[in-house]
C-alpha cells in the first residue's frame, strides 16, 4: 500500500491518528488569545524541552546533514552543528524572552523602536515562517518519496503532512503544538538513531566502515576543496557561523514563544538549552548515517537522497513505518508551531494594530486560524520555487542576523534608537547582498563584513540622531529588569503587560 508493507502502513496510520487525538485533546483548553498563541505560559520543563527540541528539529535537517556528510565526511555535521557552541548561550538568552512578556518578537520591536520596525519585522516574520515551512515540507517530501520508492510522490507526501498538522494545529494553537511535540520529540529521537545500527551492520560494523571510507572523511574538519555547492568548513568558518548564530538567534520569530511559553524563566532556559542539546546528539547520528552511505551508495546523484534510500533498503518491516512516522513527526512538530507563530504575528502586529483594535478573543483566535492557513499555503508556494534544501537554509542564516543586530542593540544599549536600528538592518543587508551576490565572497567573510558593518552603522547613526523618549525607555527597561514572579512591581509602576 503506497509502496509500504501493510505493517509499516498500519504503524504509520496508528501514529497519525494518535497525534491528531492528542492535539485535539489539548485544543479544549484554548479559551483566549493568550492560550492560543502562548499556551497561557503554563508549561513545565519536560514539555518545554521537548517543544524546543521538536520545534528546532526537522526531517530536512537530518536529510541535509546526512547528505552533506555523504559529500564532505563527518565535517558535514557542521551544517547543523553550527549552533553547537551557541547552545550554552541559550541559557543566558532565554530569560530575556520570558521576562519581556510579549507574545511576538514584533511586540518587542514596537515597544523598543516603534511601529515602522514592528511592521517590517511582521512582514519578514511571515516570510520567514513560510520559507521554513517550505524547506521542511520539501525536504521531508523528498525523503518520503525516496523511502517509498517513488510510490508516494514528493507532493503527495507534502499534502498529507500539511493536512495532518492543520487538522489539530488550527483548532488547538500552541497548546496543541506543545502537547504533540512531546510525543513527536520521542519519535524524532527514534528517527535519528533507528537507522544507525542497520547502516553499520550493512557496512560491516565500525571496522568495515573505516575500511571502506577514506580516513579523511572521519575528520570533523571538512576537506579544503569541497565539491561545488558546499562550503570550505574550517575553524574560521565555524567561528563566524557561531557568531552569526548568536547575533541572529534572537531574531528568529518563533523564539519568543519557545522562550516565553514556560511558567517561569527557568522553564524557558531549561527547555531551550537542553532541548537543543538533545538535537546536537541526534545530529551525530545523522552525520554517521551519511558517512556510512559513502560505502553503501558510492555514486549517488543527489546526496540528499542518502538518508531516505538507506531507510528503504535497510530497515525491516514495521520499522520503516516507524521511520516514516518519525519523519512526519519531525516536520509536523515544527510546522504546527510556526503556523501558530505566524498567525500570532499577523493578528497581534498587523490585524489588531491596523484593522480591528477592539474585538473579542474568539474573533482574534478565529482570524488567527484563517491566517495560519495562508502561512502554510505560502510555505507550499516556496517549496515549489526552491529546489535545493541547502540553498534555503543558507538564505535564512543571513537574514535573521540583520534583525538580530537591531534586537541586541535595543537590549543592551539604552542609547540605541529607531534610526540606529534601521541603519543596522539596512547596512548589514546591503553588505550581505554585495559580498554574496556581487563580489562572490565565501560565507564566513560575508558574515564578518555585515555583522561588523551592521553594528557599526547602528552605533554611529544612534549617536548622530536624537535619543528616544525617556518614558518609553524607562517602561521597556523596567519590564526587562523585573524577573517573572515580581509583576506587582510592574503594576506599581503603572506598566501593563499583555500576558504575565
Amino acid at each position: 500500500m503506497f509502496g509500504l508493507h501493510i505493517w509499516d502502513f498500519a504503524t504509520l496510520a496508528l501514529y497519525l491518528i494518535g497525534i491528531i487525538f492528542a492535539g485535539l485533546w489539548a485544543a479544549r483548553k484554548v479559551k483566549t488569545v493568550g492560550d492560543y498563541f502562548m499556551g497561557g505560559r503554563s508549561f513545565g520543563k519536560a514539555f518545554m524541552i521537548m517543544h524546543a527540541f521538536g520545534t528546532g528539529t526537522h526531517t530536512d535537517q537530518a536529510v541535509t546533514v546526512a547528505g552533506a556528510s555523504y559529500k564532505l565526511g563527518l565535517g558535514g555535521i557542521w551544517y547543523q552543528w553550527l549552533y553547537l557552541f551557541a547552545t550554552p548561550f541559550y541559557w543566558v538568552i532565554a530569560p530575556i524572552f520570558r521576562r519581556l512578556r510579549y507574545i511576538t518578537t514584533a511586540d518587542y520591536f514596537e515597544e523598543r523602536f516603534g511601529r515602522s520596525l514592528e511592521f517590517t519585522y511582521t512582514l519578514w516574520g511571515l516570510l520567514y515562517f513560510s520559507l521554513q515551512i517550505g524547506t521542511m515540507l520539501l525536504g521531508t517530501g523528498k525523503t518520503a518519496s525516496a523511502i517509498t520508492g517513488g510510490a508516494v510522490s514528493e507532493w503527495t507526501a507534502i499534502w498529507i503532512m500539511t493536512v495532518l498538522f492543520l487538522s489539530y494545529g488550527l483548532m488547538g494553537g500552541l497548546p496543541a503544538a506543545i502537547v504533540t511535540d512531546f510525543i513527536q520529540g520521542i519519535f524524532i529521537i527514534v528517527l535519528s538513531f533507528l537507522l544507525v545500527p542497520f547502516v553499520l551492520n550493512a557496512v560491516g560494523g565500525f571496522a568495515g566502515l573505516h575500511a571502506k571510507v577514506p580516513a579523511e572523511m572521519f575528520s570533523l574538519i571538512a576537506p579544503a576543496d569541497p565539491p561545488p555547492g558546499y562550503d570550505r568548513i574550517t575553524e574560521y568558518f565555524i567561528l563566524m557561523v557561531v557568531i552569526n548564530a548568536l547575533v541572529g538567534i534572537v531574531a528568529q520569530p518563533h523564539h519568543m514563544e519557545v522562550g516565553g511559553a514556560g511558567k517561569t524563566e527557568l522553564e524557558g532556559r531549561v527547555g531551550w538549552t537542553f532541548g537543543n542539546m538533545i538535537k546536537r546528539l541526534c545530529t551525530v547520528a545523522w552525520a554517521l548515517t551519511g558517512v556510512a552511505c559513502i560505502a553503501l551508495y558510492p555514486d549517488l546523484d543527489d546526496p540528499e537522497h542518502a538518508f531516505g534510500m538507506a531507510s528503504r533498503d535497510l530497515l525491516p518491516i514495521g520499522l520503516l513505518g516507524i521511520m516514516l512516522a518519525s519523519m512526519i513527526a519531525a516536520v509536523m512538530s515544527t510546522c504546527d508551531s510556526f503556523m501558530v507563530d505566524g498567525a500570532a504575528l499577523f493578528v497581534g502586529n498587523f490585524y489588531k494594530r491596523y484593522f480591528k483594535p477592539e474585538a473579542s478573543d474568539t474573533h482574534y483566535v478565529n482570524v488567527g486560524r484563517i491566517v495560519a492557513l495562508f502561512v502554510v499555503a505560502g510555505g507550499l508556494l516556496v517549496a515549489d520555487q526552491f529546489k535545493s534544501v541547502v540553498q534555503i537554509v543558507r538564505f535564512s542564516w543571513s537574514f535573521v542576523a540583520f534583525f538580530g543586530i537591531a534586537f541586541w542593540g535595543g537590549i543592551v544599549w539604552r542609547r540605541c534608537n529607531s534610526a540606529g536600528a534601521w541603519a543596522g538592518i539596512l547596512v548589514s543587508g546591503i553588505l550581505w547582498y554585495l559580498s554574496s551576490s556581487v563580489w562572490g565572497w565565501e560565507l564566513p567573510d560575508q558574515y564578518l563584513l555585515y555583522i561588523i558593518g551592521g553594528f557599526a552603522a547602528m552605533i554611529v547613526v544612534s549617536l548622530l540622531t536624537p535619543e528616544m523618549d525617556t518614558d518609553r525607555l524607562d517602561r521597556f527597561y523596567t519590564i526587562l529588569h523585573t524577573p517573572v514572579g515580581q509583576e506587582h512591581k510592574l503594576r506599581e509602576a503603572g506598566i501593563k503587560v499583555v500576558l504575565e
Binding site: L74, T87, F206, H210
Partner: protein
C-alpha cells in the same frame, strides 16, 4: 557614551551556563570517540 544595560548574572545563570558548556564538550568528545571506533 556606551551606558550598557547589562546586569551582573545570578548564580543560576552562571552555574547553568557552565553546565551547558560541559555538555557541549561531552557531545564533541563523544563524537570524536565514535569516529575513531574501529579505525
Amino acid at each position: 557614551m556606551f551606558d550598557l544595560e547589562i546586569r551582573k548574572p545570578n548564580k543560576e545563570t552562571v552555574v547553568g551556563f557552565i553546565v551547558a558548556w560541559i555538555c557541549v564538550i561531552l557531545v564533541m568528545l563523544l563524537t570524536m570517540f565514535i569516529a575513531q571506533i574501529g579505525a
